[in-house]
Symmetry: C2
Subunit: 325 residues, 2 copies
């Protein structure tokens, strides 16, 4: 079997340049990359990363644990994380915890067993103690973990406040907030807090609802939304904690003959593709998913290198006005 040295000789480059290409680190010219690729192909050389990682102790793999893949917000997040990881020479091991406690715990163990360089955690269902003493950097995205890990969040509280301000400025006086329930405290809870603060300050009636775990996992909210809107027929504005819920509210309104935006205004959260594909298009709070993914991978890379990373990074959100408010 060919060795790294053989590849270097064939490519007419130094072994350290070949190594840089293989590890995708530091400056590499397109020309060098091509030469190494051609030489590898010619010699049928595949670097055994499994063996390499045994020596180097950890692999250049990131364990990514999400509660959902199909949900547009997580699909967008995973896509951006994969993109950023690729740029820094990392691979993604993807795990879908589906809010199942046991599955999440098992996944963390699998990550450690596979000697990942670090874990990016987007799932709220992993209890803190699982991470104790695993010796692997953890970055959370939109999740709290009260044991010294680094978190990347968007400004959820500000987003909730912006949504309430927008609905009230449109003339709404009977507001609803519909968020996802979680057994643990989550940054997204701050959306409700920001919303509540403004409603109280402006003395506008509001009610808060949570979807249930099962509904969150199945992504089916229609029955719940139907019940809520029938129980509160005076509602004239809804703030949904995701565009996905916002889009389902639009469907429920159509079914109940409630006109949007005439009789009902809606503000979503996330600003994923879906927000531009509903009729009317969703007014929403833009979450800077790309920048959050970029930050998460950068912080993980810094952690691996032993650098100090901020305990919490909160990125700004903004209101995107479309057709529902």
């Amino acid at each position: 079997m060919a060795t790294l040295k053989d590849v270097a000789k064939e490519a007419g480059l130094t072994t350290s340049t070949v190594s840089r290409v293989l590890n995708n680190r530091g400056y590499i010219s397109d020309n060098a990359r091509k030469k190494v690729g051609d030489a590898m192909k010619k010699l049928d050389y595949y670097p055994n990363e499994v063996a390499r990682s045994l020596h180097g102790k950890s692999t250049n793999t990131i364990g990514l644990i999400v509660p959902h893949i199909r949900h547009p917000y997580f699909a967008e997040t995973i896509s951006n994380l994969e993109d950023q990881a690729y740029k820094k020479g990392y691979k993604i091991l993807l795990f879908n915890s589906q809010s199942v406690h046991e599955k999440a715990v098992e996944y963390v163990n699998t990550c450690v067993g596979n000697r990942v360089a670090g874990i990016i955690l987007c799932s709220g269902s992993v209890p803190m103690e699982v991470f104790e003493g695993i010796g692997v950097p953890i970055i959370t995205m939109e999740r709290f973990l009260e044991n010294g890990t680094a978190s990347v969040e968007c400004d959820n509280k500000q987003g909730g406040a912006m949504a309430a301000e927008k609905l009230i400025s449109c003339g709404c006086r009977h507001l609803l907030y519909i968020g996802n329930v979680n057994s643990v405290s989550m940054p997204a809870d701050l959306r409700a807090e920001g919303f509540r603060d403004i409603c109280e300050k402006r003395k506008v009636f509001y009610k808060e609802f949570s979807t249930e775990e099962l509904q969150y996992n199945d992504m089916r909210y229609d029955e719940l939304l139907d019940n809520i809107l029938k129980k509160y027929p005076e509602t004239d504005g809804v703030f949904a904690s995701s565009d996905f819920i916002g889009a389902q509210i639009l469907q429920t309104c159509r079914k109940l003959g409630i006109r949007v935006p005439e009789d009902m205004k809606i503000v979503g959260f996330d600003d994923v593709n879906l927000a531009s594909l509903t009729t009317p298009q969703l007014t929403t709070i833009h979450q800077p998913i790309k920048e959050m993914a970029e930050t998460a991978v950068r912080l993980l890379d810094d952690s691996v290198a032993g650098k100090m990373v901020p305990r919490r990074t909160v990125l700004p959100v903004r209101l995107v006005e479309r057709g529902t408010a």
Copy 2:
């Protein structure tokens, strides 16, 4: 550091039972699983899967290469594959080729270097020769690879025929097909073929359009669709090769003042969540994504075990009638 033997002793089980739990293979009682988990936790034992895979040659990891993560069809596919992989004790290494030839080639090399058990390929941008002699089973989903790999597809031709039949039975006489361009031949091309056959048989006017690679990668079709619908104002029915394109056609119709379904009928493809969140909801061809994912992982598992697998598996589709046709 604790060993497998220590864990077995602590759990009061045989080492082979512990090994079965760790490998997630064969029958394992919930009780045994719990005992092993508790013992591992108590002893701080993490099986070094990197070392294990050195001995066992390949890991229980599947390399999954997709051209898109954000696209609802691929998000749904990835989610189902992760689910099925978990059930069979595999992990997913996720790669987003974004239709970039070089990236896809690099990813295949990374998969081989990481000693994956097999590769599931959903990307059309990987040239055949990359797979020659890599010695790893490959299963393709909705992709052709003419070198003896096993493919899992839905009945694209039948789907295209169903869409044409539906539009014609609704009274449409000026049809359009809008599909994604691909530099290589893809199973999805058969959707156009099935559609074309019916139009010709029924003597109904039709035109075929392809989106460009850039539009596919950016998921922005608005300008293209705007141009097409303006150029063919007599169009009264469109078959879109994905619900995502179908949803964008709805937006374009709204912008141009074309009423759906009164003046224009639309049939999509895939039947992802999005199809139920547009107004009106999309009539579409249901692709059995869950069953396709199940089949792909089963075939990969069979290939790893040295069993013979079918060269091609084609699963049926069905028409789902909603509001656009």
